[in-house]
């Protein structure tokens, strides 16, 4: 049975490889013949703008929704999709991420100072400050997450660079396009601020209070710059010219365009502080984090500030010292954080969800489900993934609901969006159809545990190679972990174990292009064997657990 399966599986991957030349497949082009008009009929439709429609039809023409209803006319040229058994939702929006932006170079990846001389002695050195960077300009379809996020039902992200106190300006990006520019729905919607001290002991700012004062000074400087330039431009003669400052100029322009300022605030203390900062800074603020909002929901509602809620709920750290007892307050926080969205909904706080630190996009909706289990209505949950973020970022006139004239961003599932077994079947981004590919996963539970560090050996055309797989298996057989080889470390994008079979996928860069490498095989206690495949090519591998190897070495 295994042999048949493996052969079929390999065949399928070969076929995929043959059909789609890798560069195109990976660039996120729509799969198939690119029709311009689609109609989905007989589906359940959640427009979000109104009550759900049973047996509804939705028509998409040239990237836009052109009809929604129970008796919408289907144009003759439409590619008709039978929607029986399917549910149509507006494309989901991840309201704060860096998806679609290529990973920052290592030096800028941390929170380190970016002052040109590498030394920061005060606000004038503008430490860790690059507000002129634009996510719209830096958006790229080469980011592997464009596809994985889309596969989880996300058609849109509000993305900004990470790292630094003023990392750059966020843009609303659609997760598809022929060219990077196609992704941009709206540029410069927000200026995220981080309050991480960037300097340490020898560089300013080295403390939270230092960062807060620094940011305040930057706003004052920006305000001064705006006024000084206006005075100067009116009558330059006889007036000392105000010096150009890239930070002030970029922020002045963003604020003039009414960009939102995103203020980090996760605990109740930070949320209350954030409310005060919004006042003191005199900006259109949105708080992000929000997880201890159950303690401050009414205060936030009173200030009418929207909140982006981080879906990576606080958990017991994986490497927690078993003897270190968390405080009762910490335990309360871990227990109650998922109840925050319900508290927000009740208090009338406008909120949207974002993936936060979640790296496997399939976990995002599971995290939303936790907040539904903690009292949030499914309608409010859907809204926080669609219309609410569109409203917060000022794009509700084009995104967030299934209404005529809006951008055709849709997600089609085979069941309730938040049910565990539900699968995303189709995703439309700007009217382009994407089927969600997923290696077939058998339903039998795993026999044995694949968790642990494995040493993998295989022979490429260039000679023998070794890699290490550090795997963690959940009780249902879902695999997570990393594979480290010659080309660096890659995180598993999917993976499963069923009986003695397994499959996992990592994505690596080969000659600058991202490729899925799919490992499939069987395992016994301390050994595994199987095949690793990239489109158009596959080789056998064997694996052992180092523990077993150690024994061998000892015997030698």
């Amino acid at each position: 049975m295994y042999a048949t399966f493996a052969r079929r599986y390999l065949f399928v991957s070969m076929l995929i490889a043959a059909c789609f030349a890798p560069p195109f497949a990976m660039r996120g082009a729509a799969q198939g013949g690119e029709p311009e008009c689609f109609a989905i009929r007989g589906a359940k439709i959640y427009p979000v703008s109104g009550p759900p429609l049973e047996n509804g039809t939705i028509v998409i023409t040239r990237g836009l929704i052109t009809a929604v209803g129970t008796n919408a006319t289907i144009p003759p040229e439409a590619w008709v999709i039978e929607g029986k058994g399917l549910i149509v939702y507006p494309g989901l929006i991840d309201s704060f991420a860096d998806v679609g932006l290529p990973a920052a170079p290592a030096s800028a990846g941390g929170e380190g100072p970016r002052a040109p001389q590498g030394v920061s002695r005060g606000p004038e050195d503008r430490p860790a400050t690059t507000p002129w960077r634009s996510a719209a300009d830096e958006a790229s379809l080469t980011d592997k997450r464009v596809e994985t996020w889309r596969g989880a039902g996300f058609t849109t992200v509000v993305s900004a660079q990470k790292g630094g106190i003023f990392p750059g300006q966020a843009a609303v990006l659609n997760l598809a396009g022929d060219r990077a520019g196609d992704m941009v729905v709206r540029a410069s919607v927000a200026v995220p601020v981080a309050l991480q001290p960037s300097g340490g002991l020898a560089n300013f700012p080295g403390s939270l209070m230092g960062v807060l004062s620094y940011v305040r000074q930057v706003w004052l400087d920006t305000d001064w710059y705006t006024k000084a330039v206006a005075i100067y431009e009116k009558n330059p003669r006889g007036v000392e010219r105000p010096a150009y400052d890239r930070t002030e100029a970029a922020l002045a322009e963003a604020l003039e365009e009414r960009a939102l300022v995103l203020i980090p605030a996760n605990t109740a203390l930070q949320l209350r502080r954030g409310l005060g900062l919004a006042d003191h800074w005199k900006v259109n603020a949105v708080l992000y984090g929000g997880q201890q909002g159950y303690e401050a929901a009414n205060e936030i509602a009173a200030k009418k500030l929207p909140v982006l809620v981080n879906l990576q709920w606080p958990e017991k750290p994986k490497d927690a010292d078993p003897d270190a007892e968390p405080s009762l307050r910490t335990l309360h926080f871990r227990d109650r954080a998922p109840s925050t969205p319900a508290a927000f909904a009740k208090a009338g706080v406008k909120f949207a969800f974002y993936s936060g630190g979640i790296s496997a996009p399939k976990e995002i909706l599971k995290a939303v489900k936790k907040s539904i289990d903690a009292g949030l209505s499914a309608d409010d949950a859907l809204r926080a993934l669609t219309l609410a973020p569109a409203q917060i970022f000022g794009v509700a006139d084009r995104l967030g609901t299934l209404e005529t004239g809006k951008i055709a961003n849709l997600v089609l599932t085979d069941g309730d969006l938040f049910a565990e077994k539900t699968k995303v079947k189709l995703v439309f981004v700007d009217g382009r159809k994407f089927e969600v590919r997923e290696p077939a996963r058998p339903s039998e539970p795993p026999k044995g545990d694949l968790s642990g560090k494995w040493k993998l050996s295989y022979t490429t055309p260039d000679g023998p190679e070794e890699a290490t797989a550090d795997l963690t298996m959940a009780s249902d057989g879902t695999l997570s972990g990393t594979v480290t080889g010659k080309r660096g470390t890659a995180t598993l994008t999917t993976g499963w174990v069923s009986v003695e079979k397994f499959s996992f996928t990592v994505n690596i860069l080969l000659q600058g292009e991202p490729f899925d490498v799919i490992f499939t095989g069987t395992f016994e206690k301390d050994s595994m064997k199987g095949t690793l495949a990239v489109p158009g090519f596959s080789i056998d591998f064997t694996g052992t657990k180092p523990g077993a190897q150690l024994t061998t070495r000892a015997e030698e």
Binding site: S207, L269, R334
Partner: protein, 531 residues
């Protein structure tokens, strides 16, 4: 003194940033410490009568079998025969002692993030008020030691440090409710070894100043700049008022604004210091620029220059009996003596005894009592060291510091004379609300333990249902309901101090490039590390 070896061992790590600063109390909870969340205060607005107590008013002697009536958070009456109004909550304090709430004139509790903006020699841009942490369990622990107000200071890594704030220890209230309303804000200065970075230096760092001369020059330079900044704004206002058009206003400079406030007498200077020479130096500089030093903090050699301190109208806030630490390469605490508080008091200086440390603050009553042995202060004089005197030093003595009608009902109830080693706080009130109640705390501990266990169990189950086997959680040991005095650990001031993260940096060059500095043409610091 079992304290000395600890001090010797740990002084290095410690003085790095703050002098003898903030111990990370969360990392070293004392055995039998209250749980990590604590009971919320009682409801406000209650009319309360404390009766049958020995009331130590501090301002006008002791009242045996005395009563204190509290209305609207204020002391309505103090005396021997006060009847309980209808509906009043009566606290019978028979055999117990009531004193005004203890005021800690040098504290680093309730700060979110680092106590120091240690990167620069003039960090006046940083403000403790921005980072008050109402969740800091040290607030509750110090409350349990009878502290009701604290002067929350920036660390001492800088000649001119950050802005400071006086708080009331209103545990359970949001951070915005902590500040002592109307109290004058302050700024921290630091003299001597700490701002020189004698005992610690980031790798490759070459920060100016590295000598006491340099510390003096740094302060003078900063105030010269502040004076110019003030003048620049004055000129602008005059020209704008005269109707001049097309005037570009000066930039606001958050670093210089607090220094201008010091020059204008709108902000107190609290200066960390040890040696007599540096104390005299700061008095000279202050005189030159026309500002006052409100308090000298630590001021270990204050007894040598007590007359000069008294003449300048400055207060002195010191330790009870810390000496002979910081004696390694850089001697500056060598001449400290336990008679310091008493000697300065006798020369007319307003003296307080402070904690500089969350644990020390839990027994400031005992710290004050030591001056009765060392230097022969009276009972009242000793008690004043932690009540009325720090209130005077912080300019809040019209509101707190003694038990007088009209003052805030910030009170501490002890089971014994508070200057006795057997005294244990029973209740602490702020604004007439009971924020700490020993009986209630003890009664609620079991429930808290139970709740904690239930949550841990829930987490464990969720973990098993999800992935992998979670790590076994040891059942929490039952905590002793009461801590015996002899079990009390000796103060470990330096344990738990987080070592600042050491990041290798290229050698830095001090420079002054703030817009104001550029336009004013003055320097904040010498280039090239000064040496």
């Amino acid at each position: 003194m079992n304290r000395a070896p600890t001090l010797l061992t740990l002084a290095f790590a410690f003085v790095v940033l703050c002098g003898r600063e903030a111990v990370d109390a969360a990392a070293t909870p004392a055995a039998g410490a209250p749980p990590d969340t604590a009971p919320a205060p009682t409801e406000p607005g209650q009319v309360i009568l404390i009766q049958n107590a020995t009331v130590l008013t501090v301002s006008h002697g002791a009242i045996e079998h005395g009563s204190i009536l509290i209305k609207d958070g204020k002391i309505a009456a103090v005396g021997q025969s006060i009847k309980a109004p209808e509906g009043a909550q009566v606290i019978d304090a028979s055999g117990q002692f009531v004193i005004p709430g203890i005021i800690d004139c040098h504290s680093h509790i309730a700060i979110d993030g680092s106590v120091n903006e240690g990167s620069i020699s003039v960090s006046s841009i940083a403000n403790i008020a921005d980072v008050l942490d109402s969740d800091d369990i040290d607030i509750y622990r110090d409350l349990a030691g009878g502290v009701t107000a604290a002067n929350v200071l920036h660390g001492s890594a800088n000649a001119i440090g950050g802005q400071t704030i006086v708080i009331k220890l209103r545990w359970g209230q949001p951070a915005e409710k902590l500040p002592f309303e109307g109290a004058m804000p302050g700024i921290k200065f630091a003299l001597g070894e700490n701002p020189k970075r004698s005992n610690f230096r980031a790798p490759g760092e070459a920060r100016y100043p590295t000598t006491r001369m340099g510390v003096e020059e740094t302060i003078r330079a900063a105030f010269t700049e502040a004076r110019d900044y003030k003048k620049m704004w004055g000129d602008y206002s005059r020209r704008a008022a005269a109707g001049e058009k097309n005037l570009i206003p000066p930039r606001r400079d958050l670093r210089l604004e607090p220094l201008v406030e010091v020059l204008e007498g709108k902000r107190y200077v609290h200066s960390h210091c040890y040696r007599a020479d540096e104390i005299l130096m700061l008095l000279r500089v202050a005189k030159e620029f026309g500002f006052k030093v409100r308090t000298f903090q630590h001021v270990l050699e204050g007894y040598k220059v007590a007359d000069e301190i008294a003449a300048a109208g400055a207060g002195a806030s010191t330790f009870s009996d810390w000496w002979a630490y910081k004696v390694e390469a850089k001697v500056e605490a060598y001449d400290a003596i336990p008679y310091n508080a008493a000697l300065m008091t006798k020369r007319g200086v307003v003296v307080s005894v402070n904690s500089d440390d969350a644990e020390e603050a839990t027994h400031l009553n005992q710290e004050a009592a030591k001056s009765m042995k060392f230097g022969g202060l009276t009972h009242d004089e000793a008690l004043k060291l932690v009540t009325l005197n720090p209130a005077i030093q912080l300019g809040i003595d019209k509101r707190v510091g003694s038990i007088d009608a009209g003052k805030d009902a910030d009170l501490v109830v002890y089971n014994h004379d508070p200057l006795s080693a057997y005294a244990v706080v029973q209740k602490t009130l702020i604004d007439g609300r009971v924020y700490f109640d020993r009986q209630r705390d003890i009664a609620e501990r079991a429930d808290r333990e139970k709740e904690k266990k239930a949550l841990l169990e829930k987490e464990k189950k969720a973990g098993e249902a999800g992935k992998e086997k979670p790590a076994e959680k040891k059942p929490a040991e039952a905590k002793p309901a009461e801590k015996k005095p002899e079990e009390k650990k000796p103060p470990e001031k330096k344990t738990g101090e987080k070592k600042p993260e050491e990041k290798p940096k290229p050698p830095s060059v001090e420079r002054s490039t703030s817009p104001a500095a550029r336009s004013a043409g003055t320097r904040l610091a010498l280039p090239g590390g000064g040496l």
